[in-house]
Protein backbone atom coordinates (compact mmCIF):
# COMPACT_ATOMS: atom_id res chain seq x y z
CA UNK A 1 0.00 0.00 0.00
CA UNK A 2 1.37 3.41 -0.88
CA UNK A 3 1.87 5.87 1.89
CA UNK A 4 1.03 9.55 1.41
CA UNK A 5 2.68 12.44 3.10
CA UNK A 6 1.46 16.02 2.85
CA UNK A 7 4.26 18.24 1.62
CA UNK A 8 2.77 21.25 -0.17
CA UNK A 9 0.46 23.73 1.59
CA UNK A 10 -2.38 25.15 -0.47
CA UNK A 11 -0.86 28.59 -0.94
CA UNK A 12 2.22 27.16 -2.60
CA UNK A 13 0.11 25.12 -4.98
CA UNK A 14 -2.09 28.09 -5.86
CA UNK A 15 0.97 30.25 -6.35
CA UNK A 16 2.65 27.60 -8.46
CA UNK A 17 -0.18 27.19 -10.94
CA UNK A 18 -0.93 30.89 -11.23
CA UNK A 19 2.74 31.52 -11.78
CA UNK A 20 2.93 28.77 -14.37
CA UNK A 21 -0.09 30.06 -16.28
CA UNK A 22 1.27 33.62 -16.28
CA UNK A 23 4.71 32.52 -17.45
CA UNK A 24 3.28 30.56 -20.34
CA UNK A 25 0.96 33.40 -21.37
CA UNK A 26 3.85 35.86 -21.10
CA UNK A 27 6.11 33.68 -23.22
CA UNK A 28 3.48 33.22 -25.93
CA UNK A 29 2.49 36.88 -26.01
CA UNK A 30 6.10 38.08 -25.76
CA UNK A 31 7.16 35.88 -28.67
CA UNK A 32 4.17 37.07 -30.70
CA UNK A 33 5.28 40.67 -30.27
CA UNK A 34 8.92 39.94 -30.84
CA UNK A 35 8.24 38.08 -34.09
CA UNK A 36 5.42 40.38 -35.15
CA UNK A 37 5.00 40.40 -38.90
CA UNK A 38 7.10 37.29 -39.53
CA UNK A 39 4.25 34.78 -39.42
CA UNK A 40 5.72 33.16 -36.31
CA UNK A 41 3.63 35.12 -33.87
CA UNK A 42 0.63 33.28 -32.52
CA UNK A 43 -1.34 36.28 -31.32
CA UNK A 44 -2.08 39.54 -33.10
CA UNK A 45 0.23 42.30 -31.90
CA UNK A 46 -2.62 44.28 -30.39
CA UNK A 47 -3.89 41.27 -28.43
CA UNK A 48 -0.41 40.21 -27.41
CA UNK A 49 0.34 43.66 -25.94
CA UNK A 50 -2.85 43.59 -23.87
CA UNK A 51 -2.18 40.09 -22.55
CA UNK A 52 1.51 40.72 -21.91
CA UNK A 53 0.93 43.96 -20.06
CA UNK A 54 -1.84 42.47 -17.92
CA UNK A 55 0.04 39.28 -17.10
CA UNK A 56 3.29 41.17 -16.56
CA UNK A 57 1.79 43.43 -13.93
CA UNK A 58 -0.01 40.50 -12.31
CA UNK A 59 3.25 38.57 -12.15
CA UNK A 60 4.93 41.54 -10.49
CA UNK A 61 2.32 41.48 -7.72
CA UNK A 62 2.44 37.74 -7.46
CA UNK A 63 6.19 37.77 -7.10
CA UNK A 64 5.95 40.36 -4.34
CA UNK A 65 3.47 38.14 -2.50
CA UNK A 66 5.67 35.11 -3.08
CA UNK A 67 8.65 36.80 -1.50
CA UNK A 68 6.63 37.97 1.50
CA UNK A 69 5.05 34.56 1.97
CA UNK A 70 8.44 32.88 1.76
CA UNK A 71 9.90 35.20 4.34
CA UNK A 72 7.06 34.76 6.79
CA UNK A 73 6.37 31.06 6.36
CA UNK A 74 9.97 29.93 6.46
CA UNK A 75 9.39 28.39 3.07
CA UNK A 76 12.59 30.05 1.94
CA UNK A 77 14.36 27.04 3.48
CA UNK A 78 13.16 24.88 0.63
CA UNK A 79 15.43 26.75 -1.70
CA UNK A 80 18.56 26.97 0.39
CA UNK A 81 20.65 23.87 -0.13
CA UNK A 82 22.49 22.49 2.87
CA UNK A 83 26.17 22.97 2.31
CA UNK A 84 27.08 19.71 4.09
CA UNK A 85 27.48 16.97 1.51
CA UNK A 86 26.34 19.32 -1.21
CA UNK A 87 28.66 17.97 -3.87
CA UNK A 88 28.06 14.33 -3.03
CA UNK A 89 24.30 14.78 -3.03
CA UNK A 90 24.33 16.71 -6.27
CA UNK A 91 26.45 14.07 -7.92
CA UNK A 92 24.06 11.36 -6.80
CA UNK A 93 21.18 13.32 -8.24
CA UNK A 94 22.98 13.92 -11.53
CA UNK A 95 23.81 10.24 -11.80
CA UNK A 96 20.17 9.45 -11.23
CA UNK A 97 18.91 11.81 -13.95
CA UNK A 98 21.57 10.73 -16.43
CA UNK A 99 21.50 7.01 -15.87
CA UNK A 100 19.64 5.63 -12.90
CA UNK A 101 16.31 6.79 -14.18
CA UNK A 102 16.80 4.79 -17.37
CA UNK A 103 17.46 1.54 -15.58
CA UNK A 104 14.78 1.94 -12.95
CA UNK A 105 16.99 2.87 -10.01
CA UNK A 106 15.13 4.62 -7.17
CA UNK A 107 15.27 8.41 -6.91
CA UNK A 108 18.01 9.01 -4.29
CA UNK A 109 15.88 11.70 -2.79
CA UNK A 110 12.53 11.34 -1.10
CA UNK A 111 10.81 14.65 -0.42
CA UNK A 112 9.65 15.56 3.07
CA UNK A 113 7.38 18.27 4.33
CA UNK A 114 10.37 20.37 5.36
CA UNK A 115 12.42 19.84 2.25
CA UNK A 116 10.42 19.04 -0.82
CA UNK A 117 13.25 19.73 -3.27
CA UNK A 118 16.34 17.72 -3.93
CA UNK A 119 19.69 19.47 -3.89
CA UNK A 120 19.83 20.13 -7.61
CA UNK A 121 16.31 21.47 -7.61
CA UNK A 122 17.18 23.72 -4.70
CA UNK A 123 20.07 25.37 -6.51
CA UNK A 124 18.22 25.64 -9.79
CA UNK A 125 15.02 27.00 -8.29
CA UNK A 126 16.92 29.38 -6.11
CA UNK A 127 18.80 30.79 -9.10
CA UNK A 128 15.65 31.01 -11.19
CA UNK A 129 13.37 32.54 -8.58
CA UNK A 130 15.88 34.89 -7.03
CA UNK A 131 18.06 35.87 -9.99
CA UNK A 132 16.46 35.14 -13.34
CA UNK A 133 12.86 36.05 -12.53
CA UNK A 134 13.82 39.36 -10.89
CA UNK A 135 15.85 40.22 -13.99
CA UNK A 136 12.83 39.58 -16.20
CA UNK A 137 10.55 41.46 -13.81
CA UNK A 138 12.78 44.50 -13.45
CA UNK A 139 13.54 44.78 -17.17
CA UNK A 140 9.84 44.23 -17.89
CA UNK A 141 8.88 47.01 -15.50
CA UNK A 142 11.38 49.33 -17.19
CA UNK A 143 9.87 48.42 -20.55
CA UNK A 144 6.43 49.25 -19.23
CA UNK A 145 7.41 52.47 -17.50
CA UNK A 146 10.25 53.78 -19.65
CA UNK A 147 11.05 56.63 -17.30
CA UNK A 148 12.57 53.95 -15.04
CA UNK A 149 14.98 53.07 -17.84
CA UNK A 150 18.13 55.03 -18.66
CA UNK A 151 17.59 57.71 -21.30
CA UNK A 152 20.48 56.73 -23.46
CA UNK A 153 23.18 54.05 -23.47
CA UNK A 154 26.19 54.20 -25.80
CA UNK A 155 24.36 56.52 -28.16
CA UNK A 156 21.37 54.20 -28.37
CA UNK A 157 17.95 54.59 -26.82
CA UNK A 158 17.97 53.47 -23.18
CA UNK A 159 15.36 50.83 -23.91
CA UNK A 160 17.68 48.91 -26.22
CA UNK A 161 19.70 47.18 -23.46
CA UNK A 162 16.54 46.79 -21.38
CA UNK A 163 14.81 45.04 -24.27
CA UNK A 164 17.82 42.82 -24.92
CA UNK A 165 18.11 41.78 -21.28
CA UNK A 166 14.36 41.20 -21.07
CA UNK A 167 14.38 39.11 -24.20
CA UNK A 168 17.40 36.98 -23.37
CA UNK A 169 16.29 36.42 -19.77
CA UNK A 170 12.81 35.60 -21.08
CA UNK A 171 14.19 32.98 -23.46
CA UNK A 172 16.34 31.39 -20.73
CA UNK A 173 13.36 31.38 -18.41
CA UNK A 174 11.27 29.72 -21.07
CA UNK A 175 13.99 27.12 -21.59
CA UNK A 176 13.97 26.47 -17.86
CA UNK A 177 10.18 26.12 -17.97
CA UNK A 178 10.47 23.44 -20.66
CA UNK A 179 13.00 21.48 -18.60
CA UNK A 180 10.94 21.99 -15.49
CA UNK A 181 7.81 20.60 -17.11
CA UNK A 182 9.74 17.65 -18.44
CA UNK A 183 11.36 16.87 -15.09
CA UNK A 184 7.85 16.86 -13.70
CA UNK A 185 7.39 13.54 -15.48
CA UNK A 186 10.26 11.89 -13.62
CA UNK A 187 8.28 10.94 -10.52
CA UNK A 188 7.32 7.41 -9.57
CA UNK A 189 4.81 7.58 -12.32
CA UNK A 190 4.76 10.09 -15.13
CA UNK A 191 1.83 11.88 -13.54
CA UNK A 192 2.82 11.59 -9.84
CA UNK A 193 4.57 14.92 -9.50
CA UNK A 194 1.79 16.78 -11.29
CA UNK A 195 -0.68 15.19 -8.86
CA UNK A 196 1.46 16.27 -5.92
CA UNK A 197 1.32 19.84 -7.11
CA UNK A 198 -2.48 19.56 -7.33
CA UNK A 199 -3.35 17.85 -4.04
CA UNK A 200 -0.24 18.50 -2.01
CA UNK A 201 0.47 14.85 -1.22
CA UNK A 202 3.57 12.99 -2.12
CA UNK A 203 3.12 9.26 -2.60
CA UNK A 204 5.90 7.14 -1.13
CA UNK A 205 6.84 3.80 -2.63
Amino acid sequence: MTQRIFILPIWIRLWHWTNAALMILLAISGASMHFSGTGWGILRFETAVKIHNFCGVTLLWLYGLFILANLFSGNLGRYLPEMKGFIGKSWKQIKFYCWGIFVGAPDPYEPTREASHNTLQQVMYWAVMYILVPIVLISGAMFLWPNLAPKEVLGLDGLVPVALVHYVAGVVLFGFTLMHIYLGTTGHKISSQFKTMVNGYHEME
Partner: protein, 356 residues
Protein backbone atom coordinates in the same frame (compact mmCIF):
# COMPACT_ATOMS: atom_id res chain seq x y z
CA UNK B 1 31.52 45.62 -102.07
CA UNK B 2 28.29 47.57 -102.12
CA UNK B 3 27.53 46.33 -98.69
CA UNK B 4 30.93 47.38 -97.41
CA UNK B 5 30.47 50.86 -98.78
CA UNK B 6 27.17 51.22 -96.99
CA UNK B 7 28.60 50.19 -93.67
CA UNK B 8 31.60 52.52 -94.11
CA UNK B 9 29.29 55.47 -94.75
CA UNK B 10 27.26 54.49 -91.74
CA UNK B 11 30.32 54.30 -89.52
CA UNK B 12 31.58 57.66 -90.69
CA UNK B 13 28.23 59.34 -90.15
CA UNK B 14 27.94 57.80 -86.71
CA UNK B 15 31.47 58.78 -85.74
CA UNK B 16 30.95 62.31 -86.98
CA UNK B 17 27.76 62.57 -84.97
CA UNK B 18 29.55 61.51 -81.81
CA UNK B 19 32.38 63.95 -82.48
CA UNK B 20 29.88 66.72 -83.08
CA UNK B 21 28.07 66.06 -79.78
CA UNK B 22 31.36 65.79 -77.90
CA UNK B 23 32.43 69.12 -79.44
CA UNK B 24 29.30 70.81 -78.16
CA UNK B 25 29.84 69.36 -74.71
CA UNK B 26 33.43 70.52 -74.55
CA UNK B 27 32.47 73.94 -75.89
CA UNK B 28 29.83 74.43 -73.19
CA UNK B 29 32.17 72.93 -70.60
CA UNK B 30 29.79 70.22 -69.44
CA UNK B 31 30.24 66.55 -68.72
CA UNK B 32 27.67 64.07 -69.98
CA UNK B 33 26.50 63.48 -66.38
CA UNK B 34 25.74 67.15 -65.98
CA UNK B 35 23.71 67.06 -69.21
CA UNK B 36 21.78 64.06 -67.98
CA UNK B 37 20.98 65.86 -64.76
CA UNK B 38 19.65 68.84 -66.63
CA UNK B 39 17.26 66.75 -68.66
CA UNK B 40 15.65 65.37 -65.49
CA UNK B 41 12.55 67.23 -64.38
CA UNK B 42 13.74 70.35 -62.64
CA UNK B 43 13.98 70.04 -58.91
CA UNK B 44 11.04 71.78 -57.35
CA UNK B 45 11.56 75.49 -57.26
CA UNK B 46 12.83 77.59 -55.61
CA UNK B 47 16.19 75.90 -55.98
CA UNK B 48 18.24 75.32 -52.89
CA UNK B 49 21.41 77.30 -53.20
CA UNK B 50 24.33 75.00 -52.59
CA UNK B 51 26.73 77.80 -51.84
CA UNK B 52 26.03 79.78 -48.67
CA UNK B 53 24.91 83.34 -49.36
CA UNK B 54 27.68 85.86 -49.02
CA UNK B 55 28.08 87.61 -45.66
CA UNK B 56 27.18 90.91 -47.33
CA UNK B 57 23.89 89.48 -48.61
CA UNK B 58 23.07 88.12 -45.16
CA UNK B 59 23.89 91.46 -43.57
CA UNK B 60 21.66 93.25 -46.07
CA UNK B 61 18.72 90.95 -45.32
CA UNK B 62 19.25 91.29 -41.59
CA UNK B 63 19.35 95.07 -41.84
CA UNK B 64 16.14 95.08 -43.85
CA UNK B 65 14.41 92.74 -41.40
CA UNK B 66 15.66 94.65 -38.36
CA UNK B 67 13.17 97.41 -39.26
CA UNK B 68 10.25 95.02 -38.93
CA UNK B 69 11.73 93.19 -35.96
CA UNK B 70 12.14 96.46 -34.07
CA UNK B 71 8.42 96.12 -33.46
CA UNK B 72 7.40 92.51 -34.18
CA UNK B 73 9.35 90.70 -31.44
CA UNK B 74 8.88 90.26 -27.70
CA UNK B 75 11.62 92.81 -27.12
CA UNK B 76 10.26 95.16 -29.79
CA UNK B 77 6.79 95.12 -28.33
CA UNK B 78 8.24 96.62 -25.13
CA UNK B 79 10.46 99.25 -26.71
CA UNK B 80 8.09 100.40 -29.50
CA UNK B 81 6.90 103.98 -29.29
CA UNK B 82 3.37 103.86 -27.82
CA UNK B 83 2.46 107.21 -29.37
CA UNK B 84 2.56 105.82 -32.88
CA UNK B 85 2.02 102.10 -32.24
CA UNK B 86 -1.02 100.34 -30.80
CA UNK B 87 0.89 98.17 -28.34
CA UNK B 88 -2.15 96.06 -27.59
CA UNK B 89 -2.49 95.16 -31.29
CA UNK B 90 1.24 94.67 -31.65
CA UNK B 91 1.41 92.21 -28.76
CA UNK B 92 -0.77 89.85 -30.80
CA UNK B 93 1.42 89.86 -33.89
CA UNK B 94 4.87 88.88 -32.67
CA UNK B 95 7.26 86.44 -34.27
CA UNK B 96 10.34 84.65 -33.00
CA UNK B 97 13.42 85.71 -35.01
CA UNK B 98 15.55 82.89 -33.58
CA UNK B 99 13.07 80.28 -34.81
CA UNK B 100 12.94 82.04 -38.15
CA UNK B 101 16.74 81.85 -38.41
CA UNK B 102 16.47 78.08 -38.11
CA UNK B 103 13.53 77.75 -40.50
CA UNK B 104 13.59 76.98 -44.21
CA UNK B 105 12.72 80.61 -44.88
CA UNK B 106 15.85 81.88 -43.20
CA UNK B 107 17.73 84.46 -45.22
CA UNK B 108 14.54 85.87 -46.74
CA UNK B 109 13.42 89.42 -46.17
CA UNK B 110 10.06 89.85 -44.49
CA UNK B 111 8.92 91.96 -47.41
CA UNK B 112 9.50 89.21 -49.95
CA UNK B 113 6.31 87.68 -48.54
CA UNK B 114 4.68 90.66 -46.87
CA UNK B 115 4.36 92.96 -49.81
CA UNK B 116 2.50 96.18 -50.51
CA UNK B 117 1.38 98.20 -47.55
CA UNK B 118 3.42 96.15 -45.07
CA UNK B 119 6.58 97.59 -46.45
CA UNK B 120 6.13 100.84 -44.55
CA UNK B 121 4.77 101.78 -41.17
CA UNK B 122 2.10 102.51 -40.15
CA UNK B 123 0.83 99.72 -42.34
CA UNK B 124 -1.68 101.54 -44.48
CA UNK B 125 -4.42 99.82 -46.41
CA UNK B 126 -7.61 98.23 -45.22
CA UNK B 127 -7.40 95.87 -42.27
CA UNK B 128 -7.52 92.33 -43.43
CA UNK B 129 -10.47 90.03 -42.77
CA UNK B 130 -8.01 87.22 -42.26
CA UNK B 131 -5.16 88.47 -40.07
CA UNK B 132 -1.75 88.61 -41.69
CA UNK B 133 -3.03 87.31 -44.98
CA UNK B 134 -3.73 90.60 -46.65
CA UNK B 135 -1.04 91.41 -49.16
CA UNK B 136 0.97 88.42 -48.04
CA UNK B 137 2.03 86.11 -50.82
CA UNK B 138 0.60 82.62 -50.82
CA UNK B 139 2.90 79.63 -50.95
CA UNK B 140 1.89 79.03 -54.56
CA UNK B 141 3.58 82.25 -55.64
CA UNK B 142 6.97 80.77 -54.96
CA UNK B 143 6.30 77.03 -54.68
CA UNK B 144 3.94 76.53 -57.58
CA UNK B 145 4.83 72.90 -58.38
CA UNK B 146 4.66 71.78 -54.76
CA UNK B 147 1.42 73.64 -54.16
CA UNK B 148 -0.21 72.18 -57.26
CA UNK B 149 0.72 68.74 -56.00
CA UNK B 150 -0.28 69.35 -52.40
CA UNK B 151 -3.50 71.38 -52.70
CA UNK B 152 -5.62 68.58 -54.19
CA UNK B 153 -4.20 66.15 -51.62
CA UNK B 154 -5.34 68.41 -48.79
CA UNK B 155 -8.73 68.85 -50.45
CA UNK B 156 -9.31 65.10 -50.72
CA UNK B 157 -8.33 64.52 -47.10
CA UNK B 158 -10.15 64.72 -43.79
CA UNK B 159 -10.17 68.52 -43.76
CA UNK B 160 -11.88 68.68 -47.15
CA UNK B 161 -14.91 66.71 -45.99
CA UNK B 162 -16.79 69.65 -44.54
CA UNK B 163 -16.76 72.47 -47.14
CA UNK B 164 -17.09 75.09 -44.43
CA UNK B 165 -14.05 73.77 -42.59
CA UNK B 166 -12.14 73.50 -45.83
CA UNK B 167 -12.88 77.12 -46.69
CA UNK B 168 -10.83 78.17 -43.69
CA UNK B 169 -8.27 75.45 -43.97
CA UNK B 170 -5.17 76.20 -46.00
CA UNK B 171 -1.41 75.76 -45.92
CA UNK B 172 -1.12 78.28 -43.08
CA UNK B 173 -3.43 76.26 -40.85
CA UNK B 174 -0.58 73.84 -40.41
CA UNK B 175 2.55 75.63 -41.60
CA UNK B 176 3.97 78.63 -39.81
CA UNK B 177 6.10 80.28 -42.48
CA UNK B 178 8.38 81.76 -39.85
CA UNK B 179 9.07 78.47 -38.11
CA UNK B 180 8.59 75.40 -40.30
CA UNK B 181 11.58 73.22 -41.03
CA UNK B 182 11.26 70.41 -43.53
CA UNK B 183 12.12 66.88 -42.39
CA UNK B 184 15.14 66.83 -44.69
CA UNK B 185 16.47 69.88 -42.87
CA UNK B 186 15.69 68.76 -39.32
CA UNK B 187 16.84 65.15 -39.83
CA UNK B 188 16.57 64.31 -36.10
CA UNK B 189 13.39 62.21 -35.73
CA UNK B 190 12.66 63.59 -32.27
CA UNK B 191 12.58 67.15 -33.56
CA UNK B 192 10.58 66.17 -36.64
CA UNK B 193 7.99 64.49 -34.43
CA UNK B 194 7.75 67.46 -32.09
CA UNK B 195 7.21 69.88 -34.96
CA UNK B 196 4.86 67.82 -37.11
CA UNK B 197 2.70 66.55 -34.25
CA UNK B 198 2.68 70.06 -32.82
CA UNK B 199 0.84 71.18 -35.98
CA UNK B 200 -1.97 68.68 -35.58
CA UNK B 201 -2.16 68.83 -31.79
CA UNK B 202 -2.36 72.64 -31.84
CA UNK B 203 -5.96 72.08 -32.98
CA UNK B 204 -6.74 68.50 -32.07
CA UNK B 205 -5.43 68.74 -28.54
CA UNK B 206 -6.51 72.31 -27.86
CA UNK B 207 -10.12 73.05 -27.10
CA UNK B 208 -9.35 76.73 -27.47
CA UNK B 209 -7.85 76.74 -30.94
CA UNK B 210 -10.29 74.11 -32.18
CA UNK B 211 -13.22 76.18 -30.96
CA UNK B 212 -11.77 79.37 -32.44
CA UNK B 213 -11.13 77.70 -35.73
CA UNK B 214 -14.55 76.11 -36.02
CA UNK B 215 -16.51 79.03 -34.58
CA UNK B 216 -19.72 79.47 -36.55
CA UNK B 217 -19.25 76.24 -38.50
CA UNK B 218 -19.46 73.44 -36.02
CA UNK B 219 -22.22 74.28 -33.52
CA UNK B 220 -20.75 72.53 -30.52
CA UNK B 221 -17.07 72.29 -31.32
CA UNK B 222 -16.44 69.39 -29.00
CA UNK B 223 -13.85 66.91 -30.02
CA UNK B 224 -13.22 63.61 -28.32
CA UNK B 225 -10.01 63.45 -26.32
CA UNK B 226 -7.12 62.52 -28.60
CA UNK B 227 -5.89 59.86 -26.16
CA UNK B 228 -9.33 58.30 -25.89
CA UNK B 229 -9.71 58.05 -29.66
CA UNK B 230 -6.36 56.32 -29.90
CA UNK B 231 -6.79 54.07 -26.89
CA UNK B 232 -6.16 51.09 -29.18
CA UNK B 233 -2.48 52.07 -29.22
CA UNK B 234 -2.10 50.64 -25.68
CA UNK B 235 -0.11 53.71 -24.67
CA UNK B 236 -1.01 56.68 -26.92
CA UNK B 237 1.13 59.21 -25.03
CA UNK B 238 4.18 57.09 -25.68
CA UNK B 239 3.38 57.07 -29.37
CA UNK B 240 2.86 60.84 -29.58
CA UNK B 241 6.51 61.32 -28.67
CA UNK B 242 7.80 58.54 -30.90
CA UNK B 243 5.76 58.66 -34.13
CA UNK B 244 3.94 61.26 -36.15
CA UNK B 245 0.21 61.51 -36.68
CA UNK B 246 0.84 61.53 -40.41
CA UNK B 247 2.46 58.10 -40.18
CA UNK B 248 -1.04 56.66 -39.85
CA UNK B 249 -3.09 59.53 -41.24
CA UNK B 250 -1.55 59.71 -44.70
CA UNK B 251 -1.58 57.04 -47.41
CA UNK B 252 1.67 55.17 -48.00
CA UNK B 253 3.30 55.87 -51.32
CA UNK B 254 4.34 53.12 -53.69
CA UNK B 255 7.58 55.03 -54.10
CA UNK B 256 9.15 55.51 -50.70
CA UNK B 257 11.48 58.23 -51.98
CA UNK B 258 8.59 60.58 -52.70
CA UNK B 259 7.56 63.16 -50.17
CA UNK B 260 4.80 62.24 -47.77
CA UNK B 261 1.33 62.82 -49.15
CA UNK B 262 -0.73 65.69 -47.73
CA UNK B 263 -3.97 63.73 -47.92
CA UNK B 264 -5.04 63.37 -44.29
CA UNK B 265 -6.86 60.07 -43.84
CA UNK B 266 -10.16 60.10 -41.96
CA UNK B 267 -10.88 57.89 -38.99
CA UNK B 268 -12.30 55.23 -41.32
CA UNK B 269 -9.21 55.21 -43.55
CA UNK B 270 -6.44 55.73 -40.99
CA UNK B 271 -4.04 52.93 -40.37
CA UNK B 272 -4.54 50.98 -37.18
CA UNK B 273 -2.54 47.89 -37.89
CA UNK B 274 0.34 47.73 -35.43
CA UNK B 275 2.38 45.61 -37.84
CA UNK B 276 2.90 48.58 -40.19
CA UNK B 277 5.45 49.80 -37.66
CA UNK B 278 6.01 46.87 -35.32
CA UNK B 279 7.65 44.51 -37.84
CA UNK B 280 10.88 44.04 -39.70
CA UNK B 281 9.72 45.99 -42.76
CA UNK B 282 8.56 48.85 -40.60
CA UNK B 283 7.04 51.83 -42.33
CA UNK B 284 9.14 54.05 -40.06
CA UNK B 285 12.39 53.39 -41.89
CA UNK B 286 11.14 54.96 -45.08
CA UNK B 287 9.31 57.86 -43.48
CA UNK B 288 10.24 59.28 -40.11
CA UNK B 289 13.74 57.78 -40.05
CA UNK B 290 14.48 58.53 -43.67
CA UNK B 291 17.04 61.17 -42.78
CA UNK B 292 18.25 59.65 -39.50
CA UNK B 293 21.91 58.86 -39.01
CA UNK B 294 22.91 55.29 -39.75
CA UNK B 295 23.84 53.05 -36.84
CA UNK B 296 26.58 50.94 -38.40
CA UNK B 297 27.75 49.31 -35.15
CA UNK B 298 24.27 48.27 -34.15
CA UNK B 299 23.59 46.98 -37.65
CA UNK B 300 26.74 44.88 -37.55
CA UNK B 301 25.69 43.58 -34.15
CA UNK B 302 22.62 42.07 -35.82
CA UNK B 303 19.87 44.63 -35.19
CA UNK B 304 17.21 45.11 -37.84
CA UNK B 305 16.27 48.69 -38.76
CA UNK B 306 19.25 49.82 -36.71
CA UNK B 307 18.77 53.49 -37.62
CA UNK B 308 15.72 53.54 -35.31
CA UNK B 309 17.75 52.56 -32.28
CA UNK B 310 19.19 55.95 -31.48
CA UNK B 311 15.69 57.16 -30.60
CA UNK B 312 13.58 54.11 -29.87
CA UNK B 313 13.42 50.37 -29.41
CA UNK B 314 10.37 49.36 -31.40
CA UNK B 315 9.23 45.86 -30.48
CA UNK B 316 9.04 43.70 -33.60
CA UNK B 317 10.99 46.16 -35.73
CA UNK B 318 14.37 46.37 -34.04
CA UNK B 319 14.96 42.83 -32.93
CA UNK B 320 18.45 41.44 -33.04
CA UNK B 321 18.66 38.50 -35.43
CA UNK B 322 21.93 37.23 -34.00
CA UNK B 323 20.52 37.12 -30.47
CA UNK B 324 17.43 35.41 -31.90
CA UNK B 325 19.58 32.70 -33.44
CA UNK B 326 21.39 32.14 -30.14
CA UNK B 327 18.07 31.94 -28.33
CA UNK B 328 16.71 29.46 -30.85
CA UNK B 329 19.87 27.39 -30.55
CA UNK B 330 19.51 27.27 -26.75
CA UNK B 331 15.89 26.17 -26.95
CA UNK B 332 16.74 23.61 -29.64
CA UNK B 333 19.49 22.19 -27.39
CA UNK B 334 17.11 21.87 -24.47
CA UNK B 335 14.46 20.19 -26.61
CA UNK B 336 17.04 17.83 -28.07
CA UNK B 337 18.23 16.99 -24.55
CA UNK B 338 14.68 16.25 -23.48
CA UNK B 339 14.09 14.10 -26.56
CA UNK B 340 17.24 12.09 -25.86
CA UNK B 341 16.24 11.66 -22.26
CA UNK B 342 12.79 10.40 -23.24
CA UNK B 343 14.46 7.97 -25.61
CA UNK B 344 16.72 6.76 -22.79
CA UNK B 345 13.74 6.21 -20.54
CA UNK B 346 11.76 4.35 -23.18
CA UNK B 347 14.66 2.08 -24.01
CA UNK B 348 15.41 1.58 -20.34
CA UNK B 349 11.82 0.66 -19.68
CA UNK B 350 11.75 -1.84 -22.55
CA UNK B 351 14.94 -3.48 -21.34
CA UNK B 352 13.96 -3.64 -17.68
CA UNK B 353 10.56 -5.03 -18.58
CA UNK B 354 8.24 -2.13 -18.02
CA UNK B 355 9.20 -1.08 -14.53
CA UNK B 356 10.61 2.39 -14.11
Amino acid sequence: MKCDLRSTVKTITFGAGILFLAGILVATGQTPQAMAQQTEPAAEEPQQEDAKPSPEAVAAVNAKNAECLSCHTEAGAVTADPTIVDLEALSKVLIDPVAMQASNHTGMTCISCHVGSYEGFPHSGPLQEVPGRHETLDCVECHSLQTWRIEPQVAHGAHGQNPKVFERFDCNSCHDSHVFQSASKLKDPVEIIAQDNGMCLSCHDSELRFAEFTAGIIPVPEQPDINVIHQFLADPERHWSSVRCIECHTPASETPTLNISHKILTKEEARRDCVTCHSADTHLSASLYRYAAEQRDAEDAGFENAQLLSKAYVVGATRNTKVDQLGMALLALILAGIALHILGRVIGRLMTGGKE
